[in-house]
C-alpha cells in the first residue's frame, strides 16, 4: 500500500486563498495523517479492510475453539489450552477445559464479531469505500471527514467488544441476538462491575458500531447521488455500485431501530427500567425487584427489524463483487443488467417486511405468521433472479479461471444451497421442527461463509492490483481456494443432517448426552459427525495461511502490473494504480454502459466506459437492438 508513489507524479498545486475546508492537500503528509487519520476514501477503505480481516480471523478463531469442545466435550484442549486459560481468566478454561459460560461467550462473540466487525466492514465499508468513488468517477466520498469519523467509531466499537473479553465475568454470553430477559439479567451481581461487564460493553460497543454504519451509509448514498461523473447515468452504474447503494439504504433505515432497542436495553441494565422485562419475573426462585410491565417480544421485533435487512447487507455487496468479476472473466456483458438492478431494489424493499420469520416460535398468532410467511416467499423471487442472471452470464463465455473467478464461481452454487435450504425455514410449520437446530446454522452459514466470504476473497484478489499496483500470486491463491472450498462443505453439509436429527445449536456438549443425537446417519451418529466438521474447520484455518502470506508479501514483492491488468471496462481501471489523492487527473466522462465486453468492430475485447462512441459501436448497438 505504497500510496506515496501514487502521489509523486502528481503536479504540485498552489494553495488557493479561497480554498475551503474538505479540499485537497497535495503536500507530503506525515505518516499518521496519511494512514492513521486519513480522509482519503482509498486509505479508509484499506483501513476498514485490514481491520475487518483481522476481526474476521479472530471471530473464526473463537469458533475453532468451540469446535474442540463440540467434538471432544469436557476434554482438555492440548498444547494451547492452558495458555488460553491464563489469557482469558480463571473462569474460561481451567486446566484447558472449557467452562459452559466461556463456551456461551465464544458463541455470542463469534456471531457478533463475524457479522458486525468482520463481514459488514469488509464487504460494505472496505470495498464500498475503495471501489465506489473510483467506479463512478468521483474524486472522493462526499464527506471525507465524516468518512474518517465512521472508521474511527467502528474501530473504537471493535475495541470495546475486544476489551469485554477481559473484564470480570468475560464477554457477553446471551447469544449474538441478546434476547431479553436473559440478556438483561446476565452479567449482573456482586462479581460484576455495573458498567464494565460483558453484556453492557456489548451494548456500548454496538452503539458505536451503529453510529459508524450510519455515517458510512449517508456518505455512500450521497456520493452515488451527487458525485457520479459526467455521462454516468443511473443505468450506466456498475452493478456493484447499485448493490452498495441498496445496502447503504438498508443500513441507513434498519440500524436505527436496533439502536433504539440497544438504548432501551442499556436503560434496563443500567437505570433499572423494564422495557423488556415482563411483570412477575422470578429468577432462581427469587422475584426480581423491578417494575415489570415490559415486553420481551418487543426486543425481538426491534432486533429482527435490523436482523433481516442485515442478511441482505451481508449478501448484496457480495453479489455486486461477483457480478463485476463474472462479467470481466466471461468477457461478455452481464446478462440481464436491468433485471439485476430492479431485483436488487425489490430485494432491498422486501427485506424490511420479512423480519418476523425469525420469530415463528414466539406465538405471534397465525395471522401475523401468514403475512410474514407470504412476504418471505416473495423475497426469494428477486434473489433467484439475481442468481439466475449470474448463471446465464456464464453461458457460452470463454471463461478465464483466474483466482478471483474461481472464488466468484464457487459463490454461485454455495449461495444457491444456502438460499434453497432457507425455504423450509420460511414455512412456519416446517420451522417449528428445524428452529434453533444445526440446520439453521448450516443454512445461513452457506449464505455468509462460502457465499459472502468467498465473494470478499474474490474481491480482494480482483482489486488488489488497483490498491497496490501489484498482483497477488496465482498459485498460492489456488492453494488458498481449493482447501477452503472443500473444508467449507465438509463443515456445513453435515450440519444439515445434525439439524434434521434435531440437534440444538446451543448445546455445550455437542449432543453427547442426548439419545437422539447418537442416532446414526450416513455411517456416523449425529454427535460423531462433530469430529470431521471440527477437523475441517481447523484445516480451513490452516488454509488461510497462504492467503495471509500472499496478501502481505504481494504488497511489496508481487508482480508489477499495469493500470488495467484484468482488461476490465469500468472506470476504476482508468485511474493509476494505486490511484493518487483525488483519483483522476482529469474528470472522467462515461460514454457507455459498464460491461461492454467483446463489442463487435473493436480491436480489443473490452471497451472502457470512458471511450467515446464510434460509428462502428453505433452499428453494433443497433444490430443488437434489432435481435431483441
Amino acid at each position: 500500500m505504497d500510496a506515496s508513489s501514487g502521489l509523486a507524479p502528481h503536479p504540485h498545486v498552489e494553495h488557493d486563498p479561497h480554498h475551503h475546508e474538505g479540499g485537497h492537500d497535495h503536500h507530503e503528509l506525515p505518516f499518521w495523517r496519511k494512514y492513521i487519520i486519513s480522509t482519503d476514501h482509498k486509505v479508509i477503505g484499506i483501513q476498514y479492510g485490514i481491520t475487518g480481516l483481522i476481526f474476521l480471523f479472530f471471530g473464526f478463531s473463537l469458533m475453532m475453539l468451540m469446535r474442540w469442545q463440540l467434538a471432544y466435550p469436557g476434554q482438555a484442549l492440548p498444547v494451547i489450552g492452558n495458555a488460553l486459560g491464563h489469557l482469558f481468566g480463571p473462569d474460561s478454561m481451567p486446566d484447558g477445559k472449557m467452562t459452559p459460560e466461556f463456551y456461551n461467550s465464544l458463541g455470542a462473540m463469534h456471531g457478533t464479531i463475524m457479522i458486525f466487525l468482520g463481514i459488514v466492514p469488509i464487504a460494505f465499508a472496505a470495498f464500498g469505500n475503495f471501489v465506489v468513488p473510483l467506479q463512478i468517477g468521483a474524486p472522493d466520498m462526499t464527506f471525507p471527514k465524516i468518512n474518517m469519523a465512521s472508521y474511527q467509531a467502528f474501530f473504537f466499537g471493535g475495541c470495546v467488544m475486544l476489551v469485554s473479553f477481559f473484564v470480570p465475568g468475560g464477554a457477553a454470553k446471551g447469544g449474538w441476538t441478546s434476547y431479553t430477559p436473559l440478556a438483561v439479567i446476565a452479567d449482573k451481581g456482586p462479581a460484576y462491575d455495573p458498567v464494565f461487564n460483558g453484556q453492557t460493553l456489548w451494548l456500548i460497543g454496538f452503539i458505536l458500531l451503529i453510529t459508524s454504519s450510519l455515517l458510512g451509509a449517508i456518505n455512500f448514498i450521497a456520493t452515488i447521488i451527487q458525485l457520479r461523473a459526467k455521462g454516468m447515468t443511473w443505468m450506466r452504474l456498475p452493478f456493484f455500485v447499485w448493490a452498495q447503494f441498496v445496502t447503504a439504504f438498508l443500513l441507513l433505515l434498519a440500524f436505527p431501530p436496533l439502536e433504539s432497542a440497544v438504548v432501551m436495553q442499556l436503560m434496563d441494565r443500567v437505570a433499572g427500567t423494564s422495557f423488556f422485562m415482563p411483570s412477575g419475573l422470578v429468577i432462581n426462585g427469587v422475584p426480581l425487584h423491578i417494575s415489570g410491565g415490559g415486553s420481551p417480544l418487543l426486543w425481538q421485533h426491534l432486533f429482527w427489524f435490523l436482523g433481516h435487512p442485515e442478511v441482505y447487507v451481508l449478501i448484496l455487496p457480495g453479489m455486486g463483487i461477483v457480478a463485476e468479476i463474472i462479467a470481466n472473466n466471461t468477457r461478455k456483458p452481464l446478462w440481464g443488467y436491468k433485471s439485476l438492478v430492479f431485483a436488487a431494489l425489490v430485494l432491498g424493499f422486501l427485506s424490511f417486511i420479512v423480519w418476523a420469520h425469525h420469530m415463528w416460535l414466539t406465538g405471534m398468532g397465525s395471522t401475523v405468521s401468514a403475512f410474514f410467511q407470504t412476504t418471505t416467499m416473495i423475497i426469494s423471487i428477486p434473489s433467484v433472479i439475481i442468481l439466475s442472471a449470474f448463471f446465464i452470464s456464464l453461458w457460452g463465455g470463454s471463461i478465464r479461471f483466474n483466482v478471483p473467478m474461481l472464488f466468484a464461481t464457487a459463490f454461485l452454487p454455495m449461495f444457491g444451497i444456502g438460499g434453497l435450504t432457507g425455504i423450509p425455514l420460511a414455512f412456519n410449520s416446517a420451522d417449528l421442527y428445524l428452529h434453533d437446530t444445526y440446520y439453521v446454522i448450516a443454512h445461513f452459514h452457506y449464505i455468509v461463509a462460502p457465499g459472502t466470504i468467498f465473494a470478499v476473497f474474490a474481491g480482494i484478489y480482483f482489486w488488489f492490483p488497483k490498491a497496490t499496483g501489484r498482483r497477488m500470486n496465482e498459485f498460492w491463491g489456488k492453494v488458498h481456494f481449493w482447501p477452503s472450498l472443500i473444508c467449507m462443505n465438509i463443515i456445513f453439509l453435515p450440519m444439515f443432517l445434525q439439524g434434521m436429527l434435531g440437534m440444538h445449536r446451543r448445546w455445550y456438549d455437542g449432543g453427547q448426552g442426548w439419545t437422539f443425537a447418537n442416532e446414526k446417519v450416513w455411517g456416523l451418529s449425529g454427535f460423531e459427525w462433530n469430529t470431521p466438521i471440527s477437523i475441517a474447520a481447523w484445516v480451513m484455518g490452516l488454509a488461510q495461511i497462504p492467503f495471509i502470506i500472499n496478501f502481505f508479501w504481494s504488497m511489496k514483492h508481487g508482480k508489477k502490473v499495469n493500470d488495467n491488468p484484468w482488461e476490465a471496462t469500468t472506470l476504476e481501471w482508468t485511474a493509476p494504480s494505486p490511484p493518487p489523492h483525488g483519483n483522476f487527473e482529469v474528470a472522467p466522462v462515461a460514454y457507455r454502459g459498464p460491461y461492454e465486453y467483446s463489442l463487435p468492430g473493436r480491436e480489443t475485447d473490452f471497451t472502457m466506459q470512458n471511450e467515446p462512441m464510434r460509428e462502428s459501436d453505433r452499428k453494433a448497438y443497433e444490430a443488437a437492438a434489432a435481435v431483441h
Binding site: 448514498i221 450521497a222 433499572g272 423491578i290 417494575s291
Partner: protein, 291 residues
Amino acid sequence: MEIPYTVTARPDTGLWNAKVGIWLFLASEVMLFGGLFSAYVFLRLDADPGAWPHGLLNVPVGTMNTAILIVSSVTVVMAWASLKMRRFRAYWWYMLVTILCGVIFLGVKLIYEWPQKFEHFGAFIKKDALEKYEPYLGNHHLAEKGLPPRTEISGHLHNHEALHDENVKEYEIALDPVNADPANPAMDRPHFLYIPPTEKVAKIEKADVEYANMFLPKHSAYFASYFTITGLHGLHVLAGVIVFTYLWLPVGTKLYKRNPEHLANRVEVAGLFWHFVDLIWIYVFALFYLL
C-alpha cells in the same frame, strides 16, 4: 480533482452535497425515534387496564416549551433568509434568539420538569391489599362508573430512608389530590393543571406494596419511556444548540466573509435538523402530556 457541489447545486439533482446528507440523516432519525415510539405503543397496549398513568405531567409548562420550540423554528428560518439577503446583522440576532430558545427549553426540562419527578413517589399496592387502601384508591366508586381501577398511591415521600432501610416497615406519604379524595368525581379524569400533593398523610405498609419507587425511569414502563424519549430528544436539542452556537460565533463571521452562500447552506442544513427536532417534540408532547 476536487470534490464538487459542496456549495453550489448539481444541475441534474438540484442539490448540494450536505443537503442530500442531512435528509438521509433525518430519514435515519425517523427510524430511530420510530423505534422508540413503537416501543411506547407496544408497552402502552400491553399495560393492564388503568395501569398507564395520566395527568402526571404539567401540561401548561409543556405547552410553553412547545411554543418556545415553534418560535425558534421560525427564527431559524429568518436567520437563514437574512443570510440569503446578505443581512448579517439580522442573521446574528435571529440566531441568538434561536439559541436562547433552545437553552430555555433545556433549562425548563432539566431544572424544573425532571427534578420535580425525581421528588415524587408512588407505590403499587398488591392485588389482595387493594381493599385495605380503598380510602385512598376509590376503586368502588370507579367500578360503579365502569372506569378501570387504580393500583398506585402517590405523593410526597416523608421518610426517604424507607426506600433503602429494611427496618422501616412503612412508607409515609403526603398524598396527591387523586389519592386524598379518590371518590370525588372531579378526580375521575386527569387534571389539565398540575396540583401539588395535599397535606393529608397516609401510611402504607411495605408488606402490602408490590413495587414502589420515586418517579425515576425504573418506576414504571411509562416513566421509562418518558425519560428515555425526552432524554434522547433533549440530547438532540443540545446538539442543535451547539451547532447553532458554532455558526453564530466568529467562526460563522469568518465563513460569511469568505463565502456567504456556504454559511447560508450550513444554516439551512442545521435548520432542517432543528425543524425535525421540533417535529419530534410535537409527537412527544401529544403522546406523553395529552394522551
